[in-house]
């Protein structure tokens, strides 16, 4: 017999997990979905952000999420720099499809190796007052370790949505994904717009890394666990749709959580990717894709 208490707890846990997944996937939605850049190194930047949070937490005792926020300008600059190299080396020459992919694989490995050499390969965790604590509201247990990343993930989604829909640069990013020539005719430089958007994508990745290390320990190779997941969420949500990314994240989070609670956790990933296949069969452009 199904316990509704368990189901309710699983749904809430799934939503919390979904909020975190959204944070990790937003950057991919932006770079892959809108800019058409297959940034396979995105999860490596997530881990880089996680190590930045670890470094500040272990040396200065700084809260990991606060560190994540403080480091976003730096990661924005790194992202902008990486895009400029990518543009000059591949995109400008029209060689971005395969060679660009290899480039980002290279970036991924360089980040992994650099982290291994700098911090070693031990598991790294952070300490924060909210880790290991939970509250219970009406029989629903909520772990702060998941609640805080979920709230930050939702705020990141909202901020990115407002940026893309309400600001000049945001609209220009949306425009660059549709028609670069038209954008140029409007007096905007597509390369500059893409540089800004890519920088924002990497800044979002770094902040989500701070959320990740709050939830689970990381090693330099943790990024590989997330490559499939973040691209699956971006595709399921509909490429370039920020709202779609959030919805897809929550669908996958709730599916994983319900399966783990009610039928056994070994089915959770299979069901999540089954949902992805089913959704793409019905809506090939993703849930909110155009």
């Amino acid at each position: 017999m199904i316990s509704w208490d368990l189901v309710a707890n699983a749904v809430v846990a799934g939503i919390l997990l979904g909020g975190f997944y959204a944070a990790v996937s937003l950057g991919v939605s932006l770079t892959f979905g809108l800019l058409d850049v297959v940034n396979i190194a995105h999860p490596a930047f997530v881990i880089l952000g996680a190590y930045a949070a670890y470094m500040m937490n272990s040396t200065l005792g700084l809260d990991p999420i606060l560190t994540g926020v403080l480091f976003t300008p730096l990661f924005y600059a790194i992202g902008a720099g990486v895009y400029r190299i990518y543009y000059a080396s591949f995109e400008r020459r029209g060689e971005e499809s395969l060679r660009g992919l290899v480039f980002f694989f290279g970036v991924l490995f360089i980040i992994e190796v650099a982290l291994s050499l700098t911090y070693g390969v031990d598991y790294r965790l952070v300490e924060a007052v909210y880790i290991g604590k939970s509250i219970e509201l009406g029989g629903i247990g909520i772990a702060f370790r998941l609640l805080v990343p979920c709230v930050v993930g939702l705020l990141m989604t909202l901020a990115l949505y407002l940026f893309l829909s309400r600001t000049f640069y945001g609209r220009a990013v949306m425009g660059v994904s549709q028609d670069q020539v038209a954008l140029r005719l409007m007096g905007a430089d597509p390369v500059r717009i893409k540089t800004i958007a890519f920088g924002i994508g990497i800044a979002a990745a770094s902040l989500s890394g701070a959320l990740l290390i709050t939830i689970a320990p990381v090693v330099p190779s943790t990024d590989r666990d997330y490559i499939g997941r973040v691209f699956a969420i971006a595709v399921l949500g509909g490429l370039g749709s920020i709202g779609g990314t959030l919805v897809a994240s929550i669908i996958l989070g709730v599916a994983e959580s319900l399966m783990a609670t009610l039928f056994g956790p070994s089915w959770s990933l299979a069901v999540s990717f089954g949902i992805l296949l089913l959704a793409l069969a019905v809506r090939p452009a993703g849930l909110f894709g155009r």
Binding site: L6, Y123, L125, S134, V219, A260, G264, S266, S268
Partner: protein
């Protein structure tokens, strides 16, 4: 005669010269051979998921090499190590060992770290009749029964079952005896073996399994699992997990208030210093397997000197700063190989294997004797309980009393605090 003599003398001189040259050349060869290093090769996880253990293991093996070379090497020859990064990828193992054997011409090979990385080495070792020292793999030789395989992990003759025997014995000794158990493990090589062994022990000790599930290793949130286990209210929770999952399960148990009477069993990762210092008091009460603890009962000859050197190198190497889990066993694996080479006075694979099979070795992890399947003749998987941990200071883990050895009896250093919740107060 004169002609004969004149013609013969230069002939003798020539023969003498040639013979002398050959003798000198032969001596030269002998001298060169004596100076040639004995090469030991291995692949090790220096990157990828198991690198947190692979790097300290390689560091320990290098310490052994330096120790041996300081004492004049083996059979009067220096020891040279050749290692490659297997990237925690079993697919790289056949290539690495083929290169070690055919290109680098190593004299002996040692396995990489972990069950998954030892498995692909087994067919190569068997085909080439190698003596193979395994570094912490669970039940790798159970299917093959290869006689020249030796595993340094102290699992014992029945590795799957022996792995958790202590945990179940401790649980069964409690009064009133716990009745129900939940089994949870990752969908991966080691946890599958550990859970398979635990299922046998559930039957043997007369417990009732009320939850028996596995989860994908990439799981992020463990609270739904902890909550599902809490819903069936088991007396015992046995977990077989890798480090990220172990951390996830311990935190999730604390967050959802999962409070069985005994919790733990086969969690990899709780032995690592960074994990211990991060989880801190959340560890209190957990009963888990381990291989070494800084208790008086575990102070074997040479272990203090080893840790002094390891901890010095670990600071620079960015690896586990205490190194209590894997490094002494990695050291002991090559220590046994070295003792067998010296003892058999040979580099012949079979002679060395025969020597290892028929002798007991004094190592830094104590006396080691191997059984018929290459596992330790007698299991020495410890069950420890974390007790009295306050805060996250690393220094507390250097002293006795924090990881109390409960099992086996001969190494016992304290008593179990039962139930789990009592140790958390």
């Amino acid at each position: 005669m004169m002609r004969l003599r004149t013609s013969t003398l230069p002939g003798w001189a020539l023969v003498g010269a040639v013979a002398g040259t050959l003798v000198l050349a032969g001596a030269g060869v002998l001298v060169a051979r004596a100076a040639d290093p004995i090469r030991i090769g291995l692949g090790m996880a220096l990157t990828g998921g198991l690198s947190a253990n692979g790097k300290p293991a390689l560091m320990a093996i290098r310490i052994w090499k330096d120790d041996v070379n300081k004492k004049g090497g083996l059979l009067g020859r220096p020891v040279e190590l050749i290692s490659y990064d297997d990237q925690t990828n079993p697919a790289t193992v056949p290539g690495i060992y083929t290169k070690l054997l055919d290109v680098d011409k190593v004299d002996f090979v040692v396995s990489g770290y972990g069950t998954n990385l030892i498995a692909p080495l087994m067919p190569i070792a068997m085909e080439r009749k190698l003596t193979i020292m395994g570094i912490l793999g669970l039940a790798n030789n159970e299917k093959y029964k290869y006689p020249n395989y030796f595993q340094i992990q102290p699992s014992g003759p029945d590795p799957e079952a022996n792995w958790a025997t202590g945990f179940f014995e401790i649980a069964a000794r409690q009064n009133p005896k716990p009745q129900t158990i939940a089994l949870i493990g990752a969908d991966a090589e080691y946890p599958r073996h550990a859970i398979a062994g635990a299922r046998e022990l559930v039957k043997k000790f007369g417990f009732t399994a009320v939850y028996d599930k596995s989860y994908p290793p990439s799981t992020v949130d463990y609270t739904p699992i902890a909550r599902a286990i809490k819903a069936v209210n088991p007396d015992i929770v046995f977990v077989a997990s890798y480090p990220p999952d172990s951390v996830g399960m311990v935190r999730a148990a604390a967050e959802v208030g999962l409070q069985p009477k005994i919790f733990g069993g086969g969690m990899v990762g709780l032995q690592f210093t960074t994990v211990m210092t991060s989880l801190g008091p959340m560890l209190n009460g957990i009963v888990n397997y381990d291989f070494w603890a800084p208790e008086a009962t575990m102070m074997f000859p040479g272990i203090k000197e080893f840790f002094a050197e390891y901890q010095k190198r670990a600071k620079e190497g960015g690896v586990d700063p205490l190194g209590y889990y894997l490094p002494p066993y990695a050291y002991s694996a090559v220590q046994i190989l070295g003792l067998a080479i010296e003892g058999s006075k040979s580099l012949d694979q079979q002679k060395v294997a025969d020597y290892i099979r028929s002798n007991e070795f004094s190592t830094i992890v104590g006396k080691v004797r191997f059984g018929a399947n290459g596992e330790w003749a007698k299991s020495r998987v410890l069950q420890v309980q974390y007790q009295g941990i306050k805060g996250t200071d690393v220094e507390q883990f250097r002293v006795p009393g924090k990881k109390v050895v409960l099992y086996p009896e001969e190494f016992k250093s304290g008593n179990v605090i039962y139930p789990y919740s009592a140790a958390q107060k």
